[in-house]
Symmetry: C2
Subunit: 363 residues, 2 copies
């Protein structure tokens, strides 16, 4: 059946009829293009006002081929990190007249592919993607979008197999700095709550690096930063101190508990995610340990809570809003005609030193 426009708003033809002018004249007036004499313009405007006319953006998009809509694909809107990112994206795109369709993938590549299809179908003008794609076999959907002329900008996670603009932070340096702070305080047994899904638990440094290569760029960089700091201090790497596998809070509790029960137990823990920190805190409590004296702590993703903990936590603060804003800006510039730089736009995070790091107990 054709559209049931029982009560839908008036069309431009109806406005034209009401104003007693041709459709094209009404369109020119309301669309703000071409020339219309002041007199007719006034009549059209009055008619539109009277009828409560609102242009149908769908029809306009059909005609112009531009939807003024951006598609955003993130792992999880419920995650404060992505929520902040989204805020940055929508603030700056709104300011430039673009709206946003958001899709969550929950780290599932299938979902991500489905999401790009939806966005292609809806003819978004561009996409901002925080992709779960790991290697060149998993980027076909993003290539498909680009082949259709839809610019794609990556955010938070670069994808090595794709030569695209990516807005990220200096994960490697950030991780390295955090671990250096721990080392400077005297720690040598430093737990690393990492957690990308891997086939089997890596036993050697080589295996670990190999696992990183098949995982999220962000995770790989953070691992490298951890290793960098260890190497510089000539601290031998111990695979038992890094947690792999899904990073749910429950698993973190178990894994950190394990590291705490080791004969030569961990005296410091570095977490690569918010959930990692809450899980670690629970593991500490369970083990009857406290920070910073029994165990020193540094985590990723600062929040209001981290500052009110007793003692307050030393955290890495990511510029979430800026990350989103920058991604939107890069995309919007491309849509505005700028040639894609196809480069990494790296923003700086900040290590906020509070009171969760102290020297290890005499041992």
């Amino acid at each position: 059946m054709p559209a049931d426009r029982g009560q839908a708003g008036p069309t431009i033809s109806e406005v034209a009829a009401e104003a007693g002018v041709g459709r094209a004249t009404a369109a020119r007036t309301l669309g703000g293009y071409g020339y219309v004499s002041p007199e007719l313009r006034a009549r059209v405007l009055a008619a539109a006002e009277k009828l409560g006319y609102r242009a149908n953006a769908l029809a306009r998009s059909m005609s112009t081929g531009v939807s003024h809509t951006l598609g955003v694909i993130v792992a999880d809107i419920g995650n404060p990190f992505f929520a902040g990112l989204l805020r940055g994206i929508s603030d700056t795109s709104r300011a430039r007249g673009f709206d946003v369709i958001v899709l969550s993938t929950y780290e599932n590549l299938q979902e991500e592919v489905a999401a790009t299809d939806v966005l292609i179908d809806k003819r978004v003008d561009g996409m901002i993607v925080s992709s779960a794609a790991l290697d060149r076999n998993q980027v076909a959907h993003l290539r498909a979008a680009m082949d259709r002329g839809i610019p794609v900008v990556l955010v938070d996670r670069a994808v090595a197999a794709l030569d695209l603009d990516a807005v990220v932070i200096e994960n490697r340096e950030a991780a390295r700095e955090a671990v250096e702070v721990l080392i400077a305080a005297g720690h040598r047994r430093i737990g690393f709550v990492w957690g990308p899904p891997v086939a089997k638990v890596p036993a050697t440094r080589r295996e670990l690096l190999a696992a990183a290569a098949h995982n999220l760029w962000t995770d790989g960089e953070r691992l490298r930063g951890y290793l960098d700091a260890l190497d510089d201090a000539h601290i031998p790497f111990d695979p038992e101190l890094v947690m792999v596998g899904p990073k749910t809070e429950e698993r973190v509790v178990g894994e950190v508990g394990r590291m705490l029960a080791l004969p030569d137990r961990v005296t410091a823990v570095f977490c690569t995610e918010t959930d990692g920190m809450t899980g670690t805190l629970r593991a500490l409590r369970k083990a009857g340990l406290s920070y910073p004296d029994d165990v020193a702590l540094i985590g990723f993703d600062d929040s209001a809570w981290a500052a009110v903990m007793e003692p307050p936590l030393t955290m890495i603060a990511q510029p979430v809003h800026e990350l989103g804003a920058k991604a939107a800006q890069v995309l919007l510039d491309i849509l505005g005609g700028a040639a894609p730089a196809r480069e990494m736009h790296t923003l700086r995070s900040r290590l906020i030193q509070r009171a969760s790091v102290a020297a290890p107990r005499e041992g």
Copy 2:
């Protein structure tokens, strides 16, 4: 200029040509309606596959008058509460084939009006709104949407002036229960971190109630719950113990600090929002006080952090995901043809008792 379809995907006509059939036949096959012989169907499918055909959802919407898109208006995507809500909304609407456009208003009514206009223009099929509208003079934009045949469902905040479906929690009872727990523990000087913007600080109970009537429904209900508990216990209401005005963390620190410095100081604090709790915690630290012994604490909006605080915090957990899911479900049912019930759908929150409430010090 007409659309520059330089590299945009193939159209149904191109698929038809490739398959050597008429446009209508290709449309029937790809659109999944009408009849097509198995043979032609196969040819069309093959052609579509070969060309990488994807239907243009815009064109389809134009023709059918249905966009399969929901508009969501919330105060702030960055707020964990709304982020959770959004997750509930998008999970259930995705499952039913609907996508979501999200707009943040930052509690600004102007922004909210602009947001509804955007959604009307984009011809969303329905809207889920967490409105900042306070009274009957501020709901014209929502009425306008409804007049155009766009169903609206309210979430988190009911609007008295609007006879619409609203999905909310039992704010009054939740607040009452929390305060009752505090009273049962022996507290009589209970601070209330409330915080709706008001013209002048209410000095009497009457003025306070009047202020509540001109504010967010949610805030009003929570105030009533606070008052209910006080009344039942015959505890006189003291306007000095309720914070009004913008509820930024900074202001909470100041206001709670004030209540803590009162000659007959507060021995318990009840916060109506997450930011309220972190602010209160900072005020406590500043005053050199600790909980639960110096001050008992209960807050709204549980989080992973609240559980790992030392001692862990007693909090009210809202069913955020369910709230969003239910709102989407109600809206989708209406879109599916169900008559709007125009009622309040009330979900239950849960008071999670942990260790931030103790009896007041001997005084």
